[in-house]
Symmetry: C2
Subunit: 304 residues, 2 copies
């Protein structure tokens, strides 16, 4: 272990796994299964939010929180909320009415493991629980901060963010004529907005100055796009064993992606440039931003 | 117009229509349609939240707000949030995966007017926007009050409230063996929790004393059950022209309801008793609670 790059990667993998374990404990406590018939939707929520996954968004929340001396408890509350919103979006996106996916992270999707109606409700429940959690005093002693966090998450997740992006994605599905500008905007809404919230949550919790927030916004913007390009590349180059879902689906659906427009080599070069840009935004932070720098590199180097 | 009962009914109808018009203006402003492809989900959200409807929940929020000197603006923010949550729940409940309803309030349901995927997203968008709206300073100057409102709405709408109730309802659909206790619990979660929030929102906004909140909770509990029994009666006795949806569906589905268990006469008597109880809870309030008393009577006398 004398290769510093390799040591960094190991540090990052350990930190990512640690964040995942901790945030899962918080989510686990937020969804205790009751006795009544409604238990089924609680089980489905747990299946969706506590299944395998990288937990990259919670990691970003915790890494961002560290920059501003935010308490671990506050960071974890926000991290759990983001992960529940992310999980809800996957459950609804996978529905037969939407992307109709049977497999996610190597397991049956929520509606396959339960049924369509339960999956709709589980998504609804997770989204609602995310806001309930953020509104609690545990999240931050200052309720003004909690409200700011709730408003920012709702904006990122709703019709002006993720929901709007998924709407565009559904319309764009059979339009291979979309240009790079349209694809960029689609992804900025669909995946970028929630990643951006994850990066900024710590700044909100820590009442960070404007300049720091701007820097994180820039980092998040570049990171989000790099993440999506990496996803598109995995759909072309990945293996179902590693990604836990079928590959080649975008091309089969005739869908415009960064890879279909730019080609593999240019798409990869673009993603790497974005990561360099993302890391440059962190220049005003010290060593404490190292986990965020590692996260940016991880995003383009991941194999799943 | 010398019959005081008739005059009351007219007053109430006017007040209900006025509340509906005003809350619709607030919702209209919250969902401006943008230029991009995502416009479709905004249109679907507007279709669902601004279509015909009684707007009973917003009325209850405004009536409750009046008891505690809450500003009209605050009351309207909370009223709009409740109506958006109610509208989202109808959109998702009507989906083919859930109740599979084609008609609602005399019009095609959201997924019929748009498509299933858009309806899922429109519901998601409305739910998210409800929390975004509540988190804004417009709702109340004290962010602690906004957080309390958000937490209470999330609890009423989520897996421990409405979402849990809908889960039970789906499971119970083909179980005519459910007893009155099970049906009462189902309805308390499915429709009662959001009605209860509507009744209590004004008390939260007005920082009302514990005793007043308890009284409103009692009122809301009885009102919610009376409302549901009236709904069950309309499914047996109503006309599709007036209710705007098919009738006789519960019986056709072999579903246990208050009417299937108690019979028409006893169900009606039970609803009337509940309304009397509901009104009695309001004894500690003065003339300002008159709209809430009228609302209780309206709930069992309505024909649609």
């Amino acid at each position: 272990m004398t290769d510093p790059q390799r040591a960094d990667e190991t540090d990052f993998a350990v930190a990512l796994a640690d964040a995942a374990r901790t945030v899962d404990m918080v989510i686990d406590r937020l969804i205790p299964v009751p006795e009544g018939l409604e238990a089924r939707v609680f089980e489905a929520m747990r299946y969706a939010a506590l299944g395998p996954g990288k937990r990259l968004r919670p990691f970003l929340v915790l890494a961002g929180s560290r920059l501003f001396g935010v308490s671990r408890r506050s960071g974890l509350q926000a991290a759990a909320a983001v992960e529940m919103v992310h999980a809800y979006s996957l459950v609804h996106d996978d529905l037969p009415a939407m992307d109709n996916s049977d497999l996610r992270r190597g397991r049956p999707t929520c509606h396959k493991a339960f049924d369509d109606a339960t999956a709709v409700l589980a998504g609804d429940g997770l989204l609602t629980l995310a806001f309930e959690g953020l509104a609690q005093p545990d999240t931050h002693g200052d309720p003004g901060v909690r409200c700011e966090l709730i408003a920012a998450l709702a904006l990122a997740a709703g019709n002006q963010g993720m929901v709007g992006g998924q709407m565009i994605d559904l319309i764009a599905e059979h339009r291979p004529d979309l240009d790079i500008g349209a694809i960029t905007r689609l992804q900025r809404l669909k995946t970028g907005a929630l990643i951006a919230f994850s990066c900024e949550a710590g700044a909100i919790l820590g009442k960070a100055p404007h300049e720091a927030r701007q820097a994180l916004r820039g980092y998040a913007h570049d990171l989000g796009l790099a993440f999506q390009i990496a996803d598109d590349l995995l759909d072309v180059e990945g293996s179902p064993e590693k990604t836990g879902k079928p590959v080649g689906q975008d091309a089969a659906a005739g869908k415009a992606t960064f890879v279909s427009i730019l080609g593999i080599e240019r798409a990869r070069a673009h993603a790497e440039l974005l990561v360099t840009q993302a890391v440059a935004h962190l220049d005003l932070f010290d060593r404490n931003a190292e986990p965020m720098r590692q996260a940016a590199r991880f995003v383009v180097e991941r194999r799943a």
